[in-house]
């Protein structure tokens, strides 16, 4: 065994032994006891966890749909739908539903004509396009007069809701809010209604908002742009290669019908889960769930995505030229998060690139001082399907991407050549445990985890099995996954290269 190079200061070893001896008597079962679950007749799973320290509660709606489910010509539609879900319902958000619906029909029909004419390309009638654009603007203004804007937000906020928001990932879409616990019924009423009878008002204005979001978060950020290109180079078949926010041209061509199709396919009770954590009574929650969420009709679960990324057959390299400062990243294909190798990959990446004692930080930042920051993480851009483990380095003013690349790959090689000493593996596990316990602190974090495990893993109890999974990892496992996945053939390398402005 080659242990020589992974030195652990003697002092730290002693300390660790002490810690293990002190033992750790925290009982997860007590947490599990506070959880009540039930299913509605339409297939919706409801999870309630009681926590009575303060009269508040967190409410989460978790949908098993994300960027990975976007249809090819409508990339980003899962994210658009998340935006549209805040536009209200038939009752909430309008001043005159009938007139509004009619105005929206006009909007849609002009939009479809305009889209069709534009797509004729060189054969398009430019005068007709110009006229349609004028009509379209007019139709948008017409529909806009009936909008009672942001009724959902306003109602939640007036009733004391905080932290209201939603997020779209590659694997999921999640909606959340914290309310004083006596306002639980408000959440049931609004939340069920917005998936049961949503109205996608302000569709075409919101499209522009999303386009701005794309500019702000992706196009204006050279590092985000680089990572986006790294992903698209790494994934040739699987939708993980397309940014969650979607391509600009797709965003500009979204229609109300496309959003509706997506909702009808994926926002069905069997494909969703709701979780409530806080000062609530499970019985009452059950009654409210039946009353409100029970209205959603049962519907077949959507088909799982079948696309599989073919094995990578050689290193890929991506260069982005930009006036900003250099940045280095590289990524390897790794298995999905339910795969038996997942915990070992997590452990490997932790030792390689998380924290000040990681190999990358110690070598590139502390010793060589060629990077101002360096790190690694696994599960990009999602983890439900086989994904990527990524390393990155931010070169210092005097260093280059090339130097960082060499140093990073040297450290990755060490993970293959040298077996980790047992105490280092124990430290990885200790970190995982501390991180797990911290994850139980907030009501909202707890609710998201419970719903997430239920939807993505099939059972919320799996949340409490994660530690067992990581505790089963051995030094040999870590070395084996390093050798198996972190190969040259399996990696994509990306450089942000500085150009003169």
């Amino acid at each position: 065994m080659k242990l020589r190079n992974f030195k652990t200061p003697a002092l730290v070893c002693c300390l660790f032994l002490l810690a293990t001896a002190a033992g750790f008597a925290f009982d997860y079962a007590s947490i599990e006891d506070d959880v009540t679950e039930f299913s509605l007749d339409n297939g919706l799973k409801v999870i309630v966890m009681e926590r009575h320290n303060a009269p508040v509660a967190s409410f989460v709606t978790f949908a098993n749909v994300g960027g990975a489910n976007d249809p090819k010509e409508y990339t980003g539609i899962a994210h658009m739908l998340e935006h549209m879900a805040f536009k209200g319902t038939k009752d909430l958000g309008t001043t005159d539903l009938e007139a509004e619906m009619e105005a929206m029909r006009v909007e849609d029909s002009i939009w479809h004509e305009l889209r069709a004419e534009r797509k004729k390309g060189d054969l398009a009638d430019s005068a007709r396009i110009a006229q349609l654009e004028v009509d379209f603007e007019k139709a948008i203004e017409e529909a806009n007069q009936y909008v009672d804007a942001n009724a959902i937000w306003r109602t939640y906020e007036e009733e004391g809701g905080v932290g209201l928001n939603a997020g779209t990932g590659m694997d999921m879409t999640v909606y959340f809010v914290n309310l004083p616990s006596n306002k639980a019924e408000l959440w049931f009423a609004i939340e069920s209604e917005r998936f049961y009878r949503p109205v996608f008002r302000e569709m075409y204005k919101e499209r522009n908002v999303v386009a701005e979001e794309r500019r702000m978060t992706l196009e204006n950020s050279p590092i985000s742009k680089l990572i986006d290109q790294l992903k698209s180079a790494a994934f040739t078949a699987h939708p993980y290669g397309v940014a969650i926010i979607g391509h600009m041209s797709d965003i500009q061509n979204y229609s109300r019908a496309a959003v509706r199709r997506h909702l009808e396919k994926y926002y069905v009770p069997s494909n969703m889960c709701i979780a409530i954590v806080g000062d609530v009574d499970p019985e009452k929650m059950h009654k409210l769930a039946k009353k409100y969420w029970g209205r959603l009709p049962a519907s077949p679960e959507p088909e799982e995505l079948a696309t599989v990324e073919p094995e990578q057959e050689g290193e890929r390299r991506v260069y982005l030229e930009d006036p900003s400062q250099p940045f280095f990243a590289a990524a390897w294909h790794i298995p999905h998060d339910r795969h038996p190798d997942w915990p070992a990959v997590q452990a490997m990446v932790d030792y390689l690139g998380q924290g000040r004692t990681s190999l990358l930080y110690k070598d590139l930042v502390k010793e060589q001082k060629i990077a101002a920051q360096a790190g690694a993480f696994a599960g990009m851009p999602g983890s439900k399907y086989p994904s990527l483990a990524m390393v990155y380095a931010v070169p210092t003013t005097d260093a280059t991407n090339e130097e960082c690349e060499e140093a990073v790959f040297n450290q990755v090689e060490r993970m293959k050549e040298e077996l980790l000493p047992e105490e280092e593996v124990e430290k990885i596990k200790a970190r995982a445990k501390a991180q797990f316990i911290r994850g139980l602190t907030s009501n909202q974090g707890m609710a998201m985890q419970l719903a997430g495990y239920e939807v993505l893993s099939g059972d919320w109890r799996d949340m409490f099995n994660e530690l067992d999974r990581i505790n089963a990892v051995s030094a040999e496992d870590i070395q084996r996954v390093a050798k198996e996945y972190f190969t040259k053939k399996n990696r994509t390398v990306a450089y942000l290269q500085t150009t003169e402005e």
Binding site: A149, E157, G160, Q325
Partner: protein, 712 residues
């Protein structure tokens, strides 16, 4: 069968009716139960004999232990020529080791248990926190005490922090939101204000270990520290630990000065920063703001909410929703405890609609003075605050930290209740009054970062007068320190140069030098490894020289002959020197030790005394030699006792990037009675850059004919 179908149909029908009864009417008519009573947890306050203030709150929900300290310190206390000192001090106190452990040992210990101890210094306070599983509370407390009381500031970690700071400087123009915020603060507080200024290469380079040690010693005393402890612990046990690790810390005597006041220049003005590679522009408009302790602070909470506080507010409604111009848009009158905040409206928008977004935000600000909040706006703002009030108390961390903050500022513990009562009773007239007293839509500063060529409407259309463009070029590390150039410093500079000339062999001997030749070997440290090269150089003062550089079997020439010369081209052949090259060389002659020393006392050479310093542990005095524009060309560091040269530092362009080069003289040689550098170690921005070793040095050598002709 048939019966079953009918029942099903009835069920569906009923379901349908059910839907009709559960609609919006229900959202408004839901009968909410009363909020469950709960006790706001009690925080115990203890003051130690040495003045340190402790706050305790037990919470046994999870096996976690937290400490959060507030320290009376801040970057406003650092000197203007060492901006970044407080930040680096805060960082290295944690990373640079303590009397008991090295920084790396602390990292290993904490990461081995998944724990965190961090420390940092911000604008007007410092903070330190511990977050560990409750089994490790003693370790957490001991590390905290070591970091706060006994940091040793390892050189290596100082260098690391400085390298990271320089990297941050080099990247600070990469993101338009960062640029916008940084420059905005300068427009509000003045660019030299402690609330706006930021580090530059020169101010980071100027920071030494002694500075860090002194900063820590000056400000870190127990009476300046408040410590909030919460989580899974036993009160008596934890007080034992507090006393064990902090009880013997003697009280210091220093008075910490208050953060300085702000002198704001009320004006209407548009500022523009060009960023051509951006797809969006970032627009800010506003003016100086107020304090949290202002009497109408509660009124301003409602004002903010109506104007720009999220969905439903006037700015978000107009800019984001109605005009579809931006993903993010909002406005906020910011109030701080220590110094005035600012009123700010922000939008990031597509380039074409930049001016429309700015105009819309100004218009909405003006509407606050003329249009009373509607009942809907009032309800949203007031109900929102009042109904969410419970969230001020739902986590022990919020409760204890707020009590600590109020205690620091001497505010009553029930301050939040007072604010709540005011908001319960506030009227639309009060909100308009607050807007009239606090907002000045006719005196707005507008800052736009973006690409003006792609704006649909020019910025001038805002009607706020001519547009001022701000240059955000990052200054080189060249000494930005204000040199005092006057008769006195010139006289002192030449006096020191004369002493140095004597120490190096005598002024008269130097004056006799007309030419010099050298053979030297050089090692350049590059990312590709060390590159050895040899140089043969002949120089006739002031403007003739010939250098033959051999590298990896190749020879390159560099010739200077009066106003002409040749240099190696990219292709490996020779090309003529440009006028710019010639000017640069003439300037750099002022960095040549022989040239400088032979002009000691000669007013033709512009040199000024800078002051004392320390290089590699040697006490020195600096003389700066200036060019025709009175800009420094190089700084000579002479030993304060022997007057021998210790180092020369200067800003220059190199193949490794621009930066400050320091030539450290590590050995001298004597030729023709003159003592001159033999070995010079070169540093670029604090990193090893190479070494020069002179093997032969001849004063006034024979100069061959055609020595300075273009080689064939």
């Amino acid at each position: 069968m048939r019966m079953h179908k009918i029942l099903l149909a009835v069920a569906i029908l009923l379901l349908g009716f059910g839907v009709a009864t559960v609609g919006a009417q229900d959202v408004e008519s839901i009968d909410y139960p009363k909020l469950n009573e709960f006790d706001i947890p009690d925080v115990e306050k203890i003051t130690l004999d040495n003045g340190m203030r402790i706050y305790l709150l037990e919470d046994h929900t999870l096996p976690l232990f937290y400490v959060n300290c507030r320290i009376t310190v801040g970057s406003y206390l650092e000197p203007a020529d060492k901006i970044g000192l407080a930040g680096i001090c805060g960082n290295v106190m944690r990373t640079g080791g303590t009397e008991k452990w090295t920084g790396d040992e602390i990292d290993e210990m904490l990461e081995g248990i998944g724990g965190t101890v961090e420390h940092g210094i911000d604008l007007t306070d410092g903070s330190a926190y511990v977050n560990v599983l409750s089994d490790y509370k003693e370790l957490g407390m001991e590390v905290l005490a070591e970091v706060l009381r006994r940091p040793v500031f390892e050189e290596d970690k100082i260098e690391l922090a400085k390298t990271q700071a320089r990297s941050g400087i080099s990247r600070r123009n990469d993101d338009i939101a960062d640029i916008s915020l940084r420059e905005w603060k300068k427009l509000m507080y003045g660019e030299d204000s402690p609330y706006a200024r930021h580090p530059e290469y020169a101010t980071i380079n100027a920071i030494t270990r002694d500075d860090l040690v002194a900063f820590h010693q000056q400000w870190y005393h127990p009476q300046n520290i408040q410590m909030a402890i919460r989580g899974d612990f036993d009160r008596d046990q934890i007080m034992e630990l507090v006393n064990k690790y902090f009880g013997d810390w003697p009280e210091g005597s220093v008075e910490v000065p208050s953060p300085p006041p702000v002198d704001y220049d009320w004006r209407s003005q548009v500022y523009y920063i060009e960023k051509t590679n951006a797809e969006q522009s970032y627009v800010r408009c506003g003016h100086i703001g107020g304090l949290q302790t202002d009497p109408d602070y509660a009124d301003r909470i409602v004002m903010n909410s109506v104007l720009g506080g999220g969905f439903g507010s006037r700015i978000t409604e107009t800019v984001r929703r109605e005009m579809g111009l931006a993903y993010s848009a909002g406005g906020n009158y910011i109030s701080n405890f220590d110094y005035p905040g600012y009123f700010i409206c922000v939008a990031s928008t597509k380039l074409a609609s930049t001016v429309q977004a700015a105009q819309a935000m100004i218009d909405q600000t003006r509407s606050m003075l003329t249009e009373k909040p509607t009942p809907k706006e009032m309800a949203q703002a007031k109900d929102g605050y009042l109904n969410s009030f419970v969230f001020n108390f739902d986590s022990p961390g919020e409760v204890i930290n707020r009590i600590m903050t109020y205690d620091y500022y001497g505010l009553p513990e029930d301050r939040l209740q007072t604010i709540k009562e005011r908001i319960e009773n506030i009227t639309p007239e009060d909100v308009m009054e607050a807007a009239r007293n606090n907002l000045r839509p006719d005196e707005m500063v507008v800052l736009v970062v973006g690409d003006a060529d792609r704006f649909e409407t020019p910025l001038e259309e805002l009607g706020l007068g001519p547009v001022t463009q701000i240059d955000i070029t990052i200054p080189s590390g060249e000494e930005t320190e204000e040199l005092v150039v006057n008769e006195e410093t010139r006289a002192m500079g030449h006096e020191l140069l004369t002493k140095a000339a004597e120490a190096h062999g005598g002024l008269d001997e130097f004056k006799k030098v007309t030419a010099v030749s050298r053979k030297a070997t050089m090692t350049m440290s590059t990312p590709q490894g060390e590159i050895p090269l040899s140089v043969e150089e002949l120089k006739v003062y002031p403007d003739k020289s010939r250098a033959v550089i051999s590298v990896m079997g190749q020879q390159m020439y560099d010739i200077r002959n009066g106003q002409t010369g040749w240099k190696p081209s990219q292709m490996g052949s020779l090309e003529a020197k440009t006028e710019e090259d010639i000017m640069k060389e003439d300037r750099e002659l002022n960095r040549d030790l022989i040239w400088v020393l032979q002009h000691a006392g000669d007013p033709q050479l512009d040199a000024v005394y800078v002051g004392p310093g320390n290089v590699n542990g040697v006490d020195i005095e600096y003389v700066a030699v200036l060019d025709d524009n009175a800009e420094p060309v190089g700084r000579f560091a002479f030993d304060i006792e022997t007057h021998q040269l210790v180092a020369v530092s200067y800003w220059t362009e190199t193949f490794m990037g621009d930066g400050t080069v320091v030539d450290h003289v590590t050995a001298m040689m004597t030729t023709s009675g003159l003592m001159l550098p033999k070995i010079v170690k070169k540093e670029l921005n604090g990193n090893d850059f190479g070494k020069v070793e002179v093997s032969e040095l001849t004063i006034n050598p024979e100069v061959p004919e055609n020595a300075f002709a273009k080689p064939q």
